[in-house]
């Protein structure tokens, strides 16, 4: 365990606390910048896809991890971002405006849905968002004049200021840049007054209200920020897949996003990124393992979804704090090496507690 000995208020507010963290983050960034030089082409595309998933997962983390509002329908905002971006581009809007428009539209829909939806909380909000995402998927399939329906919709090439960035490497750097921007922005937001209000609302609405936090406003704001970031990821995803069809934004994507934030560890940006990496790479890993399995199992479609379920179940049962919690334990183990005690992180015994009247 690392204990903080702050000598001033501002010290507690710093974005990165320790010099070695600066070095580690710098090394990671340098590695990511240099990676396309030695990665095979296939993996550049894969890593770009992981960046986009990280963005979507970060968006959901703001809402579910920090504000405690569970959304089982965030694929709807990915879909809105993707379709809006593709439509704006096809109408001849410049790329930057189009991305801003898609993000803004997604945020606006987030506001329109968030305002009434936030009246309900917990399980009910989960159901409203789930239903909303199903409705959006159906609308995308039916509104042929804009979305092309089930025939799909091609996404125009990526051109910024007359510069074609459609290639693998330029798109990789573009996604990386946006991801870094969003991570920095969210990390800053979370240590600001607004971010602390988010966490306050998550931990206790009554206490937050008593401290003068506008509970309803804070929830709606979290919904809007979350929808905007997820919409941005949708706009990038449109370029990655290059052809939009409603099936890509089904309930499975919503649930995958929830899996990412839960497996990553609720309430941490690092968790959102780690979860997105694990869930994003799982299908590839499974396809690598498949040849080793008996033929009649390997050929079936169900293995992937079974593994998703198994991984999620194991995390919920044995590591509710997710990959981030695992990482914190590992770091504590290294830092206190010969003196590490397992009980530092032991969970207290819990009893059944009714949430029926919340």
């Amino acid at each position: 365990m690392r204990f903080h000995y702050d000598t001033s208020y501002l010290e507690g507010l710093r974005l990165i606390r320790y010099r070695q963290d600066w070095i580690l983050w710098g090394l990671l960034l340098a590695l990511l910048i240099l990676a396309p030089a030695f990665l095979p082409r296939f993996f550049i595309g894969e890593v770009t896809y992981l960046f986009i998933l990280c963005l979507a997962s970060l968006g959901l983390m703001v809402l579910t991890g920090y504000t405690g509002q569970v959304s089982l329908g965030h694929a709807a905002f990915v879909a809105i971002g993707a379709y809006a971006h593709a439509w704006f581009l096809s109408q001849g809007a410049p790329w930057v405006l189009s991305v801003l428009g898609a993000t803004g539209l997604s945020a606006l829909v987030g506001l329109v849905i968030g305002l009434p939806a936030i009246r309900v909380s917990g399980l009910y909000l989960a159901m409203v968002t789930l239903a909303f995402s199903i409705v959006v998927e159906q609308v995308a399939g039916r509104w042929k004049s804009v979305t092309g329906g089930h025939n799909g919709m091609p996404v125009p090439d990526l051109v910024i200021f007359g510069l074609s960035l459609g290639g693998l490497k330029p798109f990789y750097y573009l996604s990386l840049a946006l991801l870094v921007l969003v991570v920095l922005g969210l990390a800053n937001l979370m240590r600001s007054r607004t971010g602390r209000a988010f966490i306050g609302v998550r931990d206790s609405e009554a206490a937050a209200h008593a401290l003068g936090i506008q509970v309803a406003g804070t929830k709606v704001l979290a919904f809007v920020v979350s929808a905007a970031v997820t919409g941005l990821s949708g706009a990038l995803l449109a370029h990655h897949v290059q052809f939009l069809s409603p099936e890509a934004f089904s309930m499975l994507l919503s649930l995958e996003l929830v899996l990412m934030v839960v497996i990553g560890g609720l309430g941490s940006l690092r968790g959102a990124v780690l979860g997105a990496l694990l869930i994003g790479m799982l299908p590839t890993l499974i396809s690598r393992v498949k040849p080793l399995l008996p033929d009649h199992i390997a050929k079936q479609m169900g293995l992937e979804i079974f593994m998703f379920g198994l991984v999620l179940a194991l995390f919920v049962l044995y590591e509710p704090r997710g990959l981030n919690g695992r990482w914190l334990k590992f770091r504590a183990f290294l830092e206190t090496f010969p003196l590490y005690r397992r009980d530092t992180f032991r969970r207290g015994k819990t009893y059944m507690k009714s949430e029926r009247y919340r």
Partner: protein, 293 residues
């Protein structure tokens, strides 16, 4: 009687039949929700798995329909019992969200396992109720009558069981206050597993009834989403509300399919869900919501 009215009545009759299935699924959901406060997202997948097991016994192994039914019921009940006893009990006391995530995980695992064992094709099996009966201007499939009858039978016997028997009263007591029930000598853990088994068996009935209407398919689990809409419309956590909501959702879907623009049949249930939760979260027969600090 003119044709428009006859069509309307026919639609309502069909809607009530399909709604009876929704009501039964919603009933299974509400039972486990009241007993353990877990909204069981795996309910639809237990249903789907039982339909597949039913297919394997009837069409695969050539068993007679009536012999296959009890076996499928026992299979689904065991599945529900194991899910509660081995998995959900471990997360008792954690936030409600943990239960949602765990049942989603179980749902994925069941779906994956069924798809690995049976493959992605849709199938069908023969049921003994093939004819149709004429009621004045209405033509009603015998199957729909059977569905309605079974749904009524289950509902009535469940009400009798919960309200009149010692065991049922114990279940009600432990769903109202687990600690108080435990202190009165009720075996809360065993009872909650029993409720899960019961809910599993009900979902197996739904699976077997739904299989001839829809096909035996991996996508059969979607019915759980319709049941959620039914629960919300009827008032969350209310048993009569679940029945009423299910029937209403069935009727609304049928009417929307004919009288509203193309495609609204698929989204009608979800729009109702959103609308009711936003405007009138209590639902038709729900308990009043209080906020405790």
């Amino acid at each position: 009687m003119d044709a428009a009215l006859a069509q309307l009545l026919q639609l309502i009759a069909n809607g009530i039949a399909i709604g009876a299935i929704y009501a039964l699924v919603a009933l299974g959901l509400v039972l486990t929700y009241k007993a353990t406060e877990v909204l069981n997202f795996a309910h639809g997948d237990v249903l789907m798995a039982s339909a597949f097991v039913g297919w394997a016994l009837i069409a695969g192994a050539g068993w007679p329909f009536w012999l296959a039914i009890p076996v499928v019921l026992v299979f689904a009940a065991t599945l529900g019992w194991v899910i509660d006893r081995e998995l959900l009990r471990r997360i008792a006391g954690q936030p409600q969200f943990a239960g949602v995530m765990l049942t989603i995980a179980i749902a994925f695992m069941i779906r994956g396992a069924v798809s690995m064992v049976f493959g992605p094709d849709s199938r069908r099996f023969e049921v003994p109720f093939q004819g149709r009966t004429q009621f004045g201007p209405l033509v009603i499939n015998d199957l729909n009558l059977v569905i309605l009858g079974v749904a009524l039978l289950i509902t009535v016997s469940l009400f009798w069981f919960l309200g009149r028997t010692r065991l049922g009263l114990a279940i009600q007591a432990s769903s109202q206050n687990q600690l108080a029930a435990y202190l009165n000598g009720i075996r809360v853990k065993a009872l909650s597993s029993l409720v899960w088994a019961l809910s599993g068996a009900i979902s197996a009935v739904c699976g077997l009834l739904l299989a001839p209407v829809a096909l035996v398919d991996i996508g059969l689990w979607v019915v759980v989403l319709k049941a959620l809409a039914a629960l919300v419309l009827g008032g969350f956590g209310s048993v009569p509300g679940a029945i009423l909501g299910g029937v209403l959702i069935g009727v609304i879907e049928q009417l929307a399919g004919v009288y509203l623009p193309d495609g609204s049949k698929d989204v009608a249930a979800y729009l109702v869900l959103i609308g009711v939760l936003v405007v009138w979260p209590r639902g038709l027969l729900g308990e009043a919501h209080g906020r405790r600090v």
